[in-house]
C-alpha cells in the first residue's frame, strides 16, 4: 500500500508546486542586479575631469591572469592641481582571460579602475573583448558602476572603521 501512497504523494507535490508563482524572467532588468555586482571594467575621472590613473601598475602586478597592460607615461604637471603626477599612456584589459576577481580594484590607490554592473555585449570579433583605454573611459558614463572601489574595499578591512548601521 505504501507503494501507492508514495506515488500519489509525488503527484500531489508536483501539482502543489504548479500553483506557485513563476520565478523565471524573460530578460533580467539591469537595475535588479546587486549593488556590488562585478561584470566589466571602467576607468574613472576625478572631480576636475582629469583621469584618476597615475600609471603605478599595481593592478598589472596583482592580476593573477596578467590581463592588464599599463603603459606609464612620463610624469608631468597637472593643470588642475599644479603638482607633478604620473599618467597612463595606454591601459588595456583583456576580458578574454579575466576571471573577475576584483583584486585590481582592491589595490588601486586612486580608485581609478572600478567594475561596472553590466556585462559587455557578445560580439563576433575578438577585438571587442579587449577593452582599450577609450572603451574603459566610455564605460564610466555608459554603464552603471559597481559599488566597490579601492577606497571602500580597503575601508572594509580597516579594524578601526565603525560598522554600518544595520537596521534589522
Amino acid at each position: 500500500m505504501k507503494y501507492f501512497s508514495g506515488s500519489i504523494d509525488s503527484l500531489i507535490a508536483t501539482i502543489k508546486n504548479s500553483f506557485r508563482p513563476v520565478v523565471t524572467e524573460s530578460v533580467r532588468p539591469e537595475a535588479s542586479r546587486a549593488e556590488r555586482y562585478r561584470a566589466s571594467f571602467a576607468l574613472t575621472h576625478d572631480a576636475n575631469g582629469e583621469q584618476n590613473c597615475i600609471g603605478c601598475k599595481l593592478c598589472e602586478n596583482i592580476c593573477p591572469s596578467t590581463v592588464i597592460t599599463v603603459v606609464a607615461g612620463p610624469k608631468r604637471v597637472s593643470e588642475f592641481t599644479g603638482k607633478k603626477r604620473g599618467y597612463a599612456d595606454d591601459f588595456t584589459v583583456d576580458l578574454q582571460a579575466c576571471i573577475y576577481c576584483e583584486l585590481c580594484v582592491s589595490v588601486c590607490p586612486t580608485d581609478s579602475i572600478v567594475m561596472v554592473r553590466v556585462q559587455e555585449q557578445p560580439s563576433f570579433d575578438r577585438e571587442d573583448l579587449v577593452l582599450t583605454q577609450d572603451k574603459l573611459y566610455a564605460n564610466e558614463t555608459s554603464k552603471p558602476l559597481s559599488w566597490a572601489n579601492g577606497t571602500k574595499l580597503r575601508a572594509m578591512l580597516d579594524p578601526n572603521a565603525s560598522p554600518e548601521e544595520d537596521a534589522s
Partner: protein, 340 residues
C-alpha cells in the same frame, strides 16, 4: 453510406484531428511542464507560444542529414515511419460519438470503421509497434542504441500481456470485441470502471500503465532513457526522422487515452447528461475524457522517476500478469454466473 466514402471522410477527419493534437501535444507538454516547474515555457512564437511546434518542425527540416556509415540502411531509413503510420491507423475502430436511439439502445457513431474485432485490431497494431523501435536500435550501429532496442523488445512484448488481458476484461463482460458494442453496453449499464466491482478499477489502472509502458513514457521510458543511454534508440537519428519518432510517441499517448476512455470510461457517454443533451455533446464528452487521461499521462511523467529495466520486468511479470489473469477469470465467472 458507401463504406469507402465513409472511411475516406471519417478517416481524413480522424487523421486531421490526430495530427493537430500531436503537433499541439509538444506545445502542451512544454507549457504544462513550465507551469509545474514555475517557469515560463514557450512564450515568444505566437500567443502563449502556440506556434512553437511549427518553429520546431521548420528547424528539424533544415537539419543536416547524418546517416552513420556502417548503419543498416534499409532498416535505418524505414524505422521512423512505421510507428507513425501504425499509430495513426490504430484509433480507427473507436467511436467518438453516439446517441440514444428511439428504442433506448445506444448507437455509436463517428468512427472510421465499425469492426467486429475492434479490440483485436487495436492490440495487433500496438503489438507491431515493438518492431520499429528495435529496428531503430539495431540499425544505428551503436552500442547504446542496441542496448536500448533490446530493452524495448523486452519491455514491449512483456507489457503486451497485461495490456491484452486487461483489454479482455471489457470484452468478456460485454461479450463482443467490437468497440462500439462495448461503448453501447457501458451507456446502457454503466461504465465498466465501476460496473465490475474492484476489477474495473484495477483493470483500468493496469491497462493505463501497460499503455504507458508500450509508448515508452516515464516511469517506463528505459529504452529512451536520456540520462543513461543518451537518447536510447534515437541516438543516431537527427532532424526530421527524430521529429517523426517523437511525434509518434505523443500520438501513442493520445491513442492510449482514447482507447482507455472507450473501453473503460464509456466513450461519449455521460451518466445522466447524455439522455438529456443532444447528440453533438457526445464527442465533447469523449474529448473531455481523453483530455483528462492525456493530462494525467503528462502529470505522471513530470512527477515520477524511472524504473530500472529489471524492476520494470519484475513489476510486469510478478504483479501485473498474475493479477490480470485472475481478473479475466473472475470476469468470466461473473458472466457465466449471471451476476453481470
Amino acid at each position: 453510406m458507401n463504406p469507402w466514402l465513409h472511411g475516406a471522410v471519417y478517416g481524413a477527419g480522424l487523421l486531421g484531428f490526430m495530427m493537430t493534437v500531436g503537433a499541439l501535444a509538444s506545445w502542451y507538454e512544454r507549457k504544462f511542464t513550465a507551469v509545474v516547474q514555475n517557469r515560463l515555457g514557450p512564450n515568444v512564437v505566437g500567443p502563449f507560444g502556440v506556434y512553437q511546434p511549427i518553429a520546431d518542425a521548420i528547424k528539424m527540416l533544415r537539419k543536416e542529414e547524418i546517416i552513420p556509415r556502417d548503419a543498416d540502411r534499409p532498416l535505418y531509413l524505414l524505422a521512423p515511419w512505421i510507428p507513425t503510420f501504425l499509430v495513426l491507423i490504430s484509433a480507427a475502430a473507436v467511436p467518438f460519438g453516439g446517441y440514444y436511439a428511439a428504442d433506448g439502445h445506444w448507437q455509436s457513431t463517428w468512427l472510421v470503421a465499425d469492426l467486429d474485432l475492434g479490440v483485436l485490431w487495436l492490440l495487433a497494431v500496438s503489438g507491431l509497434m515493438v518492431f520499429p523501435i528495435w529496428m531503430a536500435g539495431w540499425s544505428g550501429n551503436n552500442k547504446y542504441a542496441l542496448l536500448a532496442g533490446m530493452r524495448m523488445v523486452a519491455q514491449g512484448i512483456s507489457y503486451e500481456i497485461p495490456m491484452v488481458l486487461t483489454a479482455l476484461v471489457p470484452v468478456i463482460a460485454v461479450g463482443s470485441m467490437s468497440i462500439s458494442d462495448i461503448v453501447a453496453y457501458q451507456a446502457e449499464h454503466g461504465w465498466l470502471i465501476w460496473k465490475l466491482p474492484g476489477i474495473g478499477l484495477v483493470a483500468f489502472v493496469f491497462f493505463y500503465l501497460a499503455s504507458l509502458a508500450e509508448s515508452n513514457r516515464i516511469p517506463f521510458d528505459i529504452p529512451e532513457a536520456e540520462s543513461e543511454l543518451v537518447g536510447g534508440v534515437l541516438v543516431e537519428y537527427t532532424g526530421m526522422r527524430f521529429g517523426i519518432v517523437l511525434l509518434s510517441e505523443y500520438l501513442h499517448t493520445l491513442v492510449a487515452s482514447i482507447v482507455a476512455s472507450a473501453l473503460f470510461l464509456g466513450g461519449g457517454h455521460m451518466p445522466f447528461l447524455s439522455a438529456m443533451l443532444p447528440w453533438w455533446t457526445a464527442p465533447i464528452f469523449m474529448l473531455l475524457k481523453v483530455g483528462a487521461l492525456f493530462f494525467s499521462i503528462y502529470w505522471v511523467r513530470w512527477s515520477w522517476v524511472r524504473y530500472r529495466a529489471d524492476q520494470l520486468m519484475e513489476l510486469c511479470w510478478y504483479w501485473m500478469v498474475p493479477i490480470s489473469l485472475a481478473m479475466v477469470m473472475a470476469t468470466a465467472l461473473m458472466v457465466t454466473g449471471g451476476w453481470l
